[in-house]
Amino acid sequence: MNPLIPLYVAVPLAGAFLIMIIGRFIRHFNKYFASLILLFLVIISFLSIFSAGDNISVYKVGGWEPANRIPIGIYMVLDSFTAIVLCIVNLIGFLSVVYSISYISRYTSEDYYYALFCVMAGGMNGVVLSGDLFNIFVFLELSAISSYALVAFGVEKNELEATFKYQVLGGLASFLILFGIAFIYWKAKTLNIADIRMVFSSGYDKSYYFLVQLLLLSGFGLKAAIIPFHAWLPDAHSYAPSPISAMLSGVLIKAVGIYVIIRLFFNLFAISEGMAVLITTLGTLSMVIGVFLAIGQWDLKRLLAYHSISQMGYVVMSVGIGMILVARGIRYEVAALAITGGVFHLINHAAFKGLLFLNAGAIEYSTGTRDLMEMGGLAKSMPVTSATSFVASLSISGIPPFNGFFSKLIIIVAAVMARFYLLAALAGVVSIITLASFMKFQRYAFYNKDPDKKKDLIKEVPFPMLFSMIVLSIICLLLSLLALPGIREAVLTPITDILMDPSRYSSQITGI
């Protein structure tokens, strides 16, 4: 029993209520209190990385011990994979809140903003920590509803239309997930992920299993915006306020989409080869189509949103390659490498895509436009934004020594070693197109001549925004250290171990 585990959910939810109540009486209470909450979460999630290591700690909500070896309470599970996702959720959350201190002061009703932000962070932490299928659904809806509201925070025509699309597709995803959960409960008569694994390992009906997997894959795929399900993402991510875009693109699609897909398909289902091939195909499609949709965009945030689809494609493809190898039962070390690459890229993407959206917000804050055609020559008037976005652009396009290079290298090496030469080549080509599209961003935003000669009016953004951007660009550099042998074994290897050894996962949790 790790007593810290419920705090990840309880603290932000309690904080949201306190912000709404006390915020009425004390001015500026909301922003500092929200930053404090997220800072606290960052500290305890970094502590959990060091304590997690190889062991799995379980918290049984309400103290319901298993009866006759059947788990009956709601389980919250903290292992190394959870710990690292918690870290990125809370870190990006903290930096986005600090950024919002000056960014959101343009909007009215800040109390609602910070309260919803805390609820969203709490919901994501809940999804990540939950070891129970229905609990995942509840927390997923919690974070989804607050993100619907936050996307529409500007309440103009475009924001409302974007959030309507997002809500209809998000609602559809929720129903598919709910159907999947119902089908699983029907056969397994339990909701605990580890216990379901136990029940299914003693035999199951193949076609029934396939139906459940399809339902859950399409539900969480809609949340993660993998390519046939991506229609909502560019609108929602580009019209949200920029710190929210950073949260949505940086962590929400990962925490409630990719993370759950990886967790379910490794630790709940026995991997079948057909499903693994399907997942790899979807990942490759998102990787390729996403980047081609991105390259023609002139709206800065929309361009970044399409790149999110493409970069998530890398993660899904790499994890899918690992799944194919595991399903065939051959070459476990290559499978481990592929999964490591995927998880590493997931972490890296949170850092650089968060940073890019904060940069886009800074540009919008100073110039009032998101159209690349109307920018130009900002390098002189906004030096810090220019420098940090340069770091992020190089990271996302995979230029050494930044983090994106190492994760893409691992992914490509793993694909070659697994003899998927076409996928390796596609990953390389997509990386080059990404570079081209970010060179376009750099050139039109920062180095071109200013079309209107209004350069003197543009100033650098205030300190809290600069702070977040600088910290994130340092993180982009530091994360490449994870590729070093000593650190990789300490942080990334336990994750692949836990994913590739599902029987250990389920036996440690159920205690049998």
């Binding site: 103009e156 025509k157 239309e161 309507f164 209809v168």
Partner: protein
């Protein structure tokens, strides 16, 4: 078996509505129909032939009970569904104030 099939048909009815309707409110209603087909399915899987309400009776230990857990889950899901529907309606009202129409064909500024 036929009840599960009807439940699935209800889901498809909702999906048909979401895809074909042009009115924002009707889309919201279709979403609710889909939602309730999910809830119905949950209630159905907890049903046990000849079962009674799960209140334990010490005099009759072999009594057959229906599964209470899906019912608890449906209640939770209904509350969540209420929140999503309220949120969706709030957005629809705001959209109506901005555009003066519920027709989705006229609310299309986002493309590409």
């Amino acid at each position: 078996m036929i009840v599960y099939l009807l439940c699935f048909i209800l889901f498809l009815t909702g999906l048909y509505g979401v895809i074909t309707r042009r009115n924002l409110v009707k889309i919201a209603i279709s979403l609710s129909i889909m939602e309730f087909s999910c809830f119905l399915f949950f209630a159905l899987i907890g049903y046990v032939e000849g079962g009674v309400a799960p209140i334990v009776d010490p005099d009759d230990p072999v009594k057959l009970y229906v599964d209470p857990l899906p019912q608890a889950m449906v209640l939770t899901a209904i509350v969540i569904g209420l929140a999503t529907t309220a949120m969706l309606m709030a957005v629809i009202i705001r959209l109506y104030r901005k555009y003066g129409t519920f027709d989705i064909r006229e609310i299309r500024t986002l493309r590409g």
